[in-house]
Symmetry: C2
Subunit: 263 residues, 2 copies
C-alpha cells in the first residue's frame, strides 16, 4: 500500500531533525497558543511544513488536516482522500521533562475510513505503523495489545489535559483513577495510544481529542487487537472536531466504560 510506505518514509526522514532539535531544546523558540500551557515551537511548524511538502509532492490533490497554522479546520464532509498530521504531539513534553514522551503522528483516511497511520518517537527511536487489515508493527515487529483482564491490575493512562479540563476529568474519570492498578498521566495522546497498542499499558482515556492527535493511534490500536470508543462506547469518527476517547486492550473496556461517569 503506497500510503503506509509514504508514512514510513516521511517519519524516518523527519526523525533525525526532531531528535537534534530536542537535544538542543534549551535554545528553542516557544510561544503560547490558546493559553499559558498550550505551546507552539519552531519544531512543530517545521515538521508540519516538511510533512505537508512530502505529501503534496506525490498527492497534490489530497486534503490535509494538521494541528498548526490554521490547518485544523475539518471539511464538512469526509473528503475522498485525507491526511492527518500532528507534527509534535506532546509539545509540553518536548519542551520539558526527563523523558521524551512525544511523537510525530501521520494518518491517512479514504472515504472517511482510516487506512494507514504511523507514529514516530524520534528520541527513543520507536516507530509504530499500521494499515487497515495489515496488522500493526513496532520497529518492524508485529505488536499486539496486552492480556490483562481486570482494571485492578491494569496500567491506565488518564490524560488530565489543560487546567480547564481538570474538573471534568476528575468528575468523569475519578472512579477509574481510584480503581486502576497503576495510574499514569503523560498528557500526550500518542504516548497513551502507542503504549496500549504495543501492550506496555492497558488503557488510555482523554475527555477531548482531535483527529490529528488520535487518528494514527486509533488505527494502531485497532490493528493491534484493541478497542477504541468514545465515553459512550460508540465508535470514534475521525472527522469529528473533538471527541472523548477510551482505548484499551479490549478485555477491560466495558469495566472502564462502566466506571466513567459523564454528562
Amino acid at each position: 500500500m503506497a500510503e503506509i510506505s509514504l508514512i514510513e518514509t516521511m517519519l524516518d526522514s523527519i526523525s533525525p531533525y526532531v531528535r537534534e532539535r530536542h537535544a538542543a531544546r534549551r535554545t528553542l523558540s516557544v510561544s503560547q497558543k490558546s493559553g499559558l500551557n498550550d505551546f507552539l515551537t519552531e519544531v512543530d511548524l517545521e515538521v508540519q511544513q516538511r510533512l505537508i511538502t512530502a505529501i503534496r509532492e506525490s498527492h497534490p490533490d489530497d486534503a490535509i488536516v494538521a494541528e498548526e497554522e490554521g490547518m485544523d479546520r475539518l471539511p464538512d464532509t469526509a473528503p475522498t482522500r485525507c491526511w492527518f498530521i500532528d507534527p509534535i504531539d506532546g509539545t509540553q513534553n518536548f519542551v520539558r521533562g526527563l523523558f521524551p514522551e512525544f511523537g510525530v503522528s501521520v494518518a491517512f483516511a479514504e472515504h472517511g475510513t482510516l487506512r494507514a497511520g504511523g507514529v514516530a518517537m524520534p528520541v527513543s527511536g520507536d516507530l509504530f505503523l499500521a494499515h487497515r487489515g495489515g496488522g500493526a508493527t513496532r520497529n518492524g515487529h508485529a505488536m499486539s495489545v496486552s492480556a490483562v483482564e481486570n482494571l485492578d491490575e491494569a496500567r491506565v493512562d488518564i490524560d488530565f489535559g489543560y487546567p480547564t479540563q481538570r474538573e471534568k476529568t476528575l468528575a468523569w474519570c475519578g472512579e477509574v483513577v481510584r480503581r486502576a492498578g497503576q495510574m499514569r498521566c503523560y498528557c500526550a495522546a500518542v504516548v497513551g495510544l502507542c503504549s496500549v497498542a504495543c501492550g506496555e499499558a492497558d488503557a488510555y482515556s482523554s475527555i477531548e481529542t482531535h483527529p490529528w492527535d488520535c487518528a494514527a493511534g486509533v488505527l494502531l490500536i485497532e490493528e493491534a487487537g484493541g478497542t477504541v470508543t468514545d465515553f459512550d462506547g460508540e465508535a470514534i469518527n475521525p472527522f469529528a472536531t473533538t471527541t472523548s476517547i477510551l482505548v484499551s486492550n479490549g478485555r477491560i473496556h466495558d469495566e472502564i466504560l462502566q466506571a466513567i461517569v459523564h454528562a
Copy 2:
C-alpha cells in the same frame, strides 16, 4: 568526600547490568509483594545485593536501610553512619511502559543528616549526584531548580501510588490537580525528585514516601536550590518510616502547600 565518590562508582558500575536486564525484561521473573501492583523482580534483589556488598567492603560497620528483603526496618535512633538503598525505584515502570522511568537510588547520612546522594537512570544514562554543601550535578554539570513562579504555569508530578492511596491523594491533592499548569503522574519518586532538581519539572508530591526512595532525591533538591517539606510544611526526617512529601523549586512551594487539604 569519600561517600559521594563511592556512590558515583557504585551507580556507574551497576548501570550496565540494569540496562541489559531492562532490555530483556520480557524474560524477567516478577513476583508480587504486598499486593497485586507491588512488584519485586530479580533485578531489584540483585542490584540491592551488589550495592550492599560494595558498601560493606569499605564500610563494614555502617548501618544500611534498603527496600527489599526485610532490610527496610529503620533503627530507633539515627545511627552514626547510615546508607539508604532503593535498588529500583519505579519497579512498575521497569516492568512495563514505553519510557524507562525508574532509577537506582543511594544516599548516605551521618548523625541523622543526609550527606551524599545519587540517582542513576541507567537507560537514559542520567546520573544525578549531590553532597551536602557541594551542590548538585546532572551528568557532571551543575544543575538547579526552575524559575517558574506560579502554580498555573508549573509542571507538577502528583504521585497517585497504589490503589489504596488514590482516595486520599484525590482528597488531599485534588486542588493541586485542578490548578497546576501541567499535571503528570509517573509514580516513581526518583523521577519526580530528579525532574524537579534539574528543572525539568517544578513540583512533585506523594502522600507516602519512605527513606530509601526519597533520601537521595531530597538532598538533590536541596543542593539544587529547591524546597522539601511534608504536607504540613515541616522538614522531612530521613529516619521516619513514612511521610508525605512535597518538593518544589521553592518559588511555588507555599502556593501548593496552601492548595493541599489534608487531615
